[in-house]
């Protein structure tokens, strides 16, 4: 029973969602938007579960003095500080329970929550993102090796597109006369992007969508049910 009823819920909700797509009449017309809003609310409540897991795992590490426990303590403190700042003085657009506290904001230049966001969070986030510049270089060094016909295609396409989008690449072929324009690197790069690349991406999308339809159907029919866990 503990598994059967939820499976019925999944099935019926799925059927309702699919049929309301085709029924413009009330009340079906607003069901799907409503359910998406429900999802936001349910996951909004659920976020607490994550926070509790984070606190539990980290404080456990601090408690048993696991390796690097000091850092996990700092993680816990950062979490607490951010939550407190948000609850007490609010965010950019919303006031916290202590109001907006103008003096404090004036001294910091912005609300504490926003100050932390701008000066710590944002820098951490964009630096983490910027690591990609390095990794893309090391991946290129290692991966684009002429080894087989397939890997040659991979490498040539990458180099052509890369060159075609830079100033230097453009100047390689700038001397070619107008009649040979189709050999200009930027044009070759565009050709590669517009046709073969587009074809492959399109096919990936189409077949993945079929996979999604198949998986969704298996879920609705209760064939794929591992997400519900065990029990009877």
């Amino acid at each position: 029973m503990k598994r059967f009823l939820p499976l019925m819920v999944t099935f019926f909700i799925g059927i309702i969602v699919i049929s309301s797509e085709f029924i413009p009449h009330k009340p079906f017309s607003s069901i799907n938007a409503g359910l998406e809003n429900w999802f936001l609310i349910i996951s909004g409540f659920a976020i607490l579960l994550g926070q509790i897991s984070l606190i539990k795992v980290n404080s456990n590490k601090v408690y048993i003095k696991a390796e690097n426990w000091q850092y996990y303590l700092i993680g816990l403190i950062s979490f607490g500080v951010m939550v407190l700042c948000g609850i007490l003085w609010g965010t950019q657009d919303a006031n916290g329970i202590l109001g907006s506290h103008v003096d404090l904001s004036k001294w910091l230049g912005s609300k504490p929550f926003v100050y932390l966001f701008d000066n710590v969070y944002q820098h951490l986030s964009s630096t983490m993102f910027a690591l990609l510049a390095f990794f893309i270089a090391s991946a290129a060094y290692r991966a684009f090796i002429m080894r087989s016909f397939e890997s040659n295609l991979l490498m040539i396409a990458a180099v052509v597109v890369m060159l075609g989008r830079t100033t230097i690449g453009t100047s390689f072929t700038a001397w070619l006369p107008q009649g040979w324009r189709f050999l200009h690197l930027p044009d070759v790069a565009n050709f590669v992007m517009n046709y073969p690349t587009n074809a492959a991406q399109r096919a990936i999308m189409i077949s993945a969508a079929l996979g999604i339809v198949g998986s969704s159907l298996r879920i609705l029919l209760g064939i794929e049910r591992s997400y519900l866990g065990g029990g009877d």
């Binding site: 950019q92 657009d93 944002q122 964009s126 993102f129 510049a133 390095f134 893309i136 270089a137 090391s138 290129a140 060094y141 290692r142 991966a143 684009f144 090796i145 002429m146 080894r147 890997s151 490498m155 990458a158 180099v159 890369m162 060159l163 989008r165 830079t166 100033t167 230097i168 690449g169 453009t170 100047s171 700038a174 992007m193």
Partner: protein, 276 residues
């Protein structure tokens, strides 16, 4: 699908170090690579260059600090060009953090043009939610959509806006956009419905998606695409800004990456010979 690894790769950290130096040096000592100006960037320049003096333009800041590198230099260059042509600028933002991006850009340009006055030559009307709906509503009445500026001065008391009612008084719209809402919505609402001239700039990643709008119906008057577009604009208005040095760094990085690929192949070739 599988990709076999090659044997004993050299320490990646050399690659990281070379790339870091290769990108940092041109930022400090700009090389000034000549960048060939593309047609679509030139169209943006010509739109501003050919619009009569004292025209009013609407400039929309639809991005946040994450795409600062690519879009902020465009903002600075376009503001500078517009100031030179004595155009008046109404700044708005469809993204919340666009407001501060606008403030920073004006602050920077004012150092060069100290005689430009707030409220007369430019004004910042702040952030507006709603995207497409907001843009459409401005076609009927701008004052309803933007009742106050960021300093809480009412619309009626702002000198620049005295004769502005809707898009009819706006010579052109520039949107610098990192996604939705942004340039696309301006094309669909401001141009397609109210026939205002729309132009702007986007990140390199989303540039290809906008090219179809640059057509014989002029849905879009040219486009600045990524750092390259910004650098091209700087070269057209003869300013050496962060995009120009950024583009130098970009070019060096590209050469380096291609060199890395060549080196990788040489090493793989040697490995193979040793084994044979």
């Amino acid at each position: 699908m599988s990709t076999p690894k090659t044997s004993k790769p050299i320490d990646r950290r050399y690659i990281f170090l070379i790339l870091l130096i290769g990108v940092a040096l041109p930022l400090i000592f700009p090389l000034g690579f000549k960048s060939e100006v593309s047609d679509i960037s030139r169209q943006v320049y010509q739109l501003i260059e050919n619009t009569p003096e004292n025209s009013i333009m609407l400039m929309s800041f639809d991005y946040d600090p994450a795409t600062n590198t690519e879009l902020q230099p465009m903002a600075k260059a376009i503001i500078e060009h517009a100031f030179r042509r004595n155009h008046k600028i109404i700044a708005v933002a469809l993204w919340p953090q666009g407001v501060q991006m606008a403030d920073q850009a004006f602050e920077y340009i004012l150092e060069k043009y100290p005689d430009k006055k707030y409220g007369i030559d430019y004004v910042n009307m702040g952030f507006k939610t709603g995207g497409m709906v907001t843009i459409q509503a401005m076609g009927r009445n701008i004052k309803d959509v933007l009742p106050k500026d960021t300093k809480n001065t009412p619309f009626e008391e702002i000198e620049l806006l005295r004769n502005v009612r809707n898009y009819k008084q706006i010579a052109y719209v520039i949107s610098l956009s990192a996604g939705d809402p942004g340039l696309k919505q301006y094309v669909m609402a401001a141009h397609d419905m109210y026939k205002v001239k729309v132009s702007g700039g986007t990140t390199a990643v989303s540039t290809p998606g906008f090219i179809p709008y640059i057509n014989d119906q002029n849905q879009l008057y040219g486009l600045l695409g990524g750092l390259k577009g910004a650098a091209e604009y700087e070269s057209m208005i003869k300013v050496k800004g962060t995009a120009t040095s950024g583009m130098d760094a970009q070019s060096v990085a590209h050469i380096l990456i291609i060199l890395f690929i060549v080196m990788g192949n040489i090493r793989a070739f040697k490995d193979k010979n040793q084994k044979a």
